[in-house]
Symmetry: C2
Subunit: 323 residues, 2 copies
């Protein structure tokens, strides 16, 4: 299993090629505004709603770019990944659209609802024990048996170029942005954003938002090298994974700053978004709004693009309702 | 308090006048589609999203039409209503936009969150006991003291003409609709829909959707006269009120049929909409979808407009989570 890439840095040409390739398979998502949140923040906020995206998250952009970029020979052997989140869903969706197999290695302890969702999109699950050793061993077996192409959830130039199509759309939808903010976990969305903006609009500031309790990217940014935490605990469960070499390249070179929010601030921002904007968003994509509301001095007076990364939430277990 | 009107039947000219009057104060709401629900229903569904409307519900259309249609003299004395739901919010919002007082009579037992929401829009609450006698007595006092203009939640030609602007927009957004469906409680939205469609597109079928446990409109429709239930119990709390003379006029003359759904079907449709469409909708507006899914033989193959009436939900008390 190669978690380290050969460090092929994608270019903006790759983003344009990706957009042409994936456009038939994804939604061109809308940008929403909210007078309420503009008032609260003092900024003009433009929410790019990837919660309305196919499979419920932006990850379908990168996954589709990887799947539809394969030669017919490679595609015939299918694709494989390890993920229990939106990347597994998205890769299963994209593989289904191309009519090829998708193998997903998931811990047997993952919620049944997530397994069902992956199967619902046609993904084939192989279970592993909930440890890195087991995951790597099982994944190596699956790959050896099938010859399937590994598509990493974020540290993959095809995936990053795909995620870059999101801010490409945003720049065409909204003029005169001063800043764009997105959550950061492994850094796939932020890297795609850096890739696109550094080419299309290098003056636009790029902020990454991270949970205080999983602030490895923030500490990496300050330290100047990757710091990976072992098992951070946060309600923003899409943001627990560490930076890798390729995403670190973009973060280090193009990100303006990484800002953090507490668990309570994240939950409050999530609930307030549901209440006021009537949209279902994941905890992960409430982090940027939480960060904007607590750093008024940075954002007030600016036109800010906010990437709402996904809407896949377990509606039976909401973080503001004690179970 | 006049619950009976003088039976001034509004015309489509009134809808056009209403639209011109309220356009600066309301959102032109989007129409969403869902491949998932199209597959499930066999129909082509077009969701008119009034959950994204100002104050979170279509009721702001009728309330704004009433408020902004008042002469300056009348407006100076303010408006008044009795409601603990979306009409109270909407009238408070509209009055606030015009800068006039809004008096709301609410039972002292109403949830504190609802009272706060009304106050948040500038509404002034006078509490009554939770009985019709007390409500009428308190309301009469408030009106006598203030001289405020009573705006009924639905049995009012100004309100019905305002609600009619919703399907006016829908007809301009989507071509070739075969049917439109909306929930029915007191019948304000359905009456507005009838008013507009009977003029713009009389061939379009109009369906009303109602909870089985509050099916007074359905029984009225079959009986040929108004039947009012005393205190129906349903999760769709916006649909508990009975028809009145003016709304009955439209229902009797223009509605194709009234269909019902069980409590569980309503809750399932609501949850499925949150999961699949990533939008927050009230229980009341899940009733049309529930009805469509259980009556495939009526809707399959048709292009159907579905009015999503509102998105004001108590996020701490969701009907699928046992408290």
């Amino acid at each position: 299993m190669k978690d380290q890439t050969d460090m092929t840095i994608p270019t903006y040409d790759d983003v344009e090629a990706a957009h042409a390739r994936i456009a038939p398979h994804i939604h061109h998502t809308p940008v929403l505004t909210s007078r309420y949140f503009n008032g609260l923040s003092g900024a003009e906020l433009f929410f790019k709603c990837e919660n309305f995206q196919k499979a419920g998250a932006f990850k379908v952009r990168g996954a589709s770019n990887a799947v539809f970029g394969l030669s017919d020979d490679m595609a015939a052997r299918g694709v494989a990944t390890h993920s229990s989140g939106n990347h597994a869903l998205s890769l299963s969706y994209a593989a289904g659209r191309r009519g090829i197999p998708c193998h997903v290695v998931m811990p047997r302890t993952a919620p049944e609802a997530k397994k069902e969702a992956v199967r619902g999109f046609g993904g084939m699950i192989t279970e592993c024990e909930p440890s890195t050793t087991s995951r790597e061993a099982v994944f190596a077996e699956v790959q050896a048996e099938t010859g399937a192409e590994f598509v990493h959830p974020y540290n993959d130039p095809r995936v990053i170029a795909g995620q870059g199509t999101c801010s490409k759309e945003l720049m065409a939808q909204i003029e005169g942005l001063d800043a764009v903010i997105a959550p950061i976990g492994g850094g796939g969305m932020i890297s795609g954003t850096c890739l696109t903006l550094s080419s299309l609009a290098p003056h636009v500031e790029i902020y990454a938002a991270e949970p205080e309790q999983a602030d490895d990217a923030c500490r990496s940014f300050k330290a100047g090298h990757i710091i990976a935490d072992d098992a951070p605990v946060t309600v923003a469960d899409g943001l627990k994974v560490p930076l890798k070499d390729l995403t670190w390249h973009f973060v280090r070179n193009h990100v303006t700053d990484i800002l953090t929010a507490s668990e309570q601030e994240i939950i409050d921002a999530m609930k307030l978004t549901w209440q006021r904007m009537k949209i279902v968003i994941e905890p992960s994509c409430a982090v940027p709004l939480a960060v904007i509301l607590k750093n008024r001095e940075i954002f007030a007076g600016k036109r800010v693009g906010v990437i709402i990364t996904g809407g896949n939430v377990d509606l039976d277990r909401l973080p503001w309702i004690k179970g």
